[in-house]
């Protein structure tokens, strides 16, 4: 069985399972959060303009909390779930390239995750636009929603790929992932200087700052940062994803996984 054919087989099986799983339902529920918040905000008197309702929850809640957390939950389980459930035995004793397990499961996981995040971002924009603000304050404009959805999707893919690779390396990928997300990224991403380049958040910000509308600059933390050009940021994110997946594939191909009885 070739790598591509096996990957497609595993992708197909995992996609079906993911769509039916409780975890997907939970992720969907969480992704709806910003949209619900957008609707709620407009219930209060003196609600801000809809464009701000998109960018603040979009940036602080969706991109900085929901995308990493859901990517961690989904991505870290790509390999570690098979190991924890001890079902990896059946796959590793088949004549398939082991890397296909990593790629196939990640592809299915990332697809479902990205769809959910895109839906969440879209719902946020929809609720902000039609959630109750009068027409003169409901206008959102160009360069707000598109980059947000794009970065939610790309952030989901990159984070999930990174956490999937971490899942092949560590016995407790969730701990490592949480540490990276909330300690390393939370600290470095807000520190002025070159160290921001060690975080995925920096490149997401760079893309939005470069391709998004001027209104994104209203977010405070943007003022302290010298961004990379949007194209370079996008290339870096894709490069991180490719490297993470490559590392994951190599590790899973060579490593022995000891299953507890």
């Amino acid at each position: 069985m070739t790598l591509i054919r096996t990957t497609i087989l595993i992708f197909g099986m995992q996609l079906t399972r993911s769509l039916r799983s409780k975890r997907t339902g939970f992720c969907l529920l969480v992704a709806i959060g910003p949209g619900a918040l957008a609707w709620l905000i407009q219930r209060f008197p003196g609600a801000p303009p809809s464009v701000e309702i998109v960018i603040y929850p979009g940036w602080f809640l969706l991109l900085q909390v929901i995308v990493p957390i859901l990517s961690l939950i989904a991505g870290s389980a790509v390999i570690s779930e098979e190991i924890d459930d001890r079902t990896v035995t059946y796959l590793f004793t088949r004549p398939i390239p082991r890397a296909a397990l990593m790629l196939g499961r990640w592809l299915a996981t990332a697809l479902v995750l990205c769809l959910i995040l895109a839906f969440g971002a879209g719902l946020l924009a929809l609720m902000a636009r039609f959630g109750g603000n009068p027409p003169e304050r409901a206008h959102i404009g160009q360069g707000v929603v598109g980059p947000l959805i794009a970065m939610a999707v790309l952030g989901g893919a990159v984070y999930s790929g990174l956490f999937a690779a971490i899942g092949t390396l560590y016995k407790h990928p969730m701990i490592v992932g949480l540490g990276y997300t909330f300690a390393i990224e939370g600290f470095l991403a807000n520190l002025p200087g070159k160290s921001q380049g060690l975080t995925i958040q920096f490149y997401l910000r760079s893309y939005i700052a470069g391709r998004g509308a001027e209104v994104w600059q209203r977010i405070e933390s943007f003022e302290l940062t010298t961004f990379d050009p949007a194209g370079e940021a996008l290339a870096t994110l894709l490069w991180v994803l490719v490297v993470a997946l490559a590392v994951g594939c190599v590790v899973v191909s060579r490593r022995q996984y000891l299953l507890t009885a």
């Binding site: 087989l9 001890r86 004793t93 004549p95 009885a261």
Partner: protein, 307 residues
């Protein structure tokens, strides 16, 4: 015939814990039982043979190939692991079919083989339910089905009879025997010695990570000459025969059991004893009703070796 498994000074450890130590053995074709108490290293050995893990040292070849992460090897084997782990959200036919497709079969062929394998292991009901709702016995059958569905050359089964009721055990034993007769090499591990004995007389005995004995049960027993063989004779005139037997030079003890209708004899040369017993019993008109060698079993062999 060439060896199925060749292990030379194989060792495997997990940190400080030694799973296997300096294991050197050759397993030939046919059905072979791998026996030993819990913690003997059976599962470790089977995982090495199945290519799930690598040896920490030594050389291991199965069907002439190094097993670990070897796709050519995996085409030729089927592995039924010990752990009760399956894809609980799938139905049994879908699960077996998926694994068959990973073995390279097309969808229609995989579906047909999956159905045949499930029928062969006796799982004909509950196929519409998810595996997570199955009883332990049904789950065991699913595990076996996925191991045999692609007609492997070597079947490796780790504690396959656990969770099965007596009828199920009998059916599975028959299945393995049938596979053996059909030319499939079967390596089966169990700590339930009499079940392995029902299946095959070729055994590999492990204890504390080391090879304790290998061969047929009878051959291994013959090697244990420090333990005299015990024979229980049920007969009409036990005391008369006892008088004669005690005079034979390779009889070390004769005991009248419980109700006095049985003799329990210990002898250092059982073949010679049986030859002379016929004559002696005939002369004394002892009226032998039954004859049983009580410690020729695998369990007895194991007790002598380990105890």
């Amino acid at each position: 015939m060439s060896a199925v498994v060749e292990a030379e000074q194989v060792g495997r450890w997990y940190g400080q814990v030694v799973g296997l130590n300096e294991l050197t053995l050759v397993i030939g074709p046919g059905v072979t039982g791998l026996v030993g108490p819990n913690g003997a290293g059976k599962s470790t050995f089977l995982k090495l043979v199945a290519g799930e893990i690598r040896p920490s040292r030594g050389r291991l070849e199965v069907l002439g190939l190094r097993p670990f992460a070897n796709r050519a090897f995996f085409r030729r084997i089927g592995f039924c692991p010990q752990q009760d782990a399956l894809y609980d959200d799938l139905r049994a036919p879908a699960l077996v079919e998926f694994l068959l497709r990973l073995s390279g079969y097309r969808r229609a062929e995989a579906r047909r083989r999956a159905a045949a394998a499930l029928e062969r292991v006796g799982l004909t009901q509950g196929l519409g339910r998810k595996v997570g709702t199955y009883s332990k016995g049904m789950r065991q059958r699913v595990k076996l089905a996925q191991a045999i569905a692609h007609e492997p050359e070597l079947l490796i089964v780790d504690e396959p009879l656990s969770g099965l009721d007596p009828i199920g055990r009998a059916e599975m034993t028959e299945l393995f025997r049938g596979l053996g007769e059909a030319g499939v090499h079967v390596l089966i591990s169990s700590h339930v010695l009499h079940e392995v004995e029902n299946l095959t007389d070729r055994i590999v005995l492990l204890h504390r990570g080391r090879l304790l004995a290998q061969g047929t049960v009878g051959d291994v027993r013959r090697l244990l000459n420090r333990h005299p063989r015990r024979v229980v004779i049920t007969l009409r005139e036990p005391r008369r025969l006892a008088n004669r037997l005690i005079g034979l030079e390779d009889v070390s003890s004769v005991r009248l059991d419980g109700d006095g209708a049985r003799l329990s004899v210990e002898t250092s040369d059982i073949e010679s004893f049986f030859r002379r017993l016929t004559a002696v019993a005939g002369e004394e008109r002892a009226g032998i009703r039954s004859l049983e060698s009580t410690d020729a079993s695998l369990e007895a062999v194991f007790d002598y070796l380990v105890g």
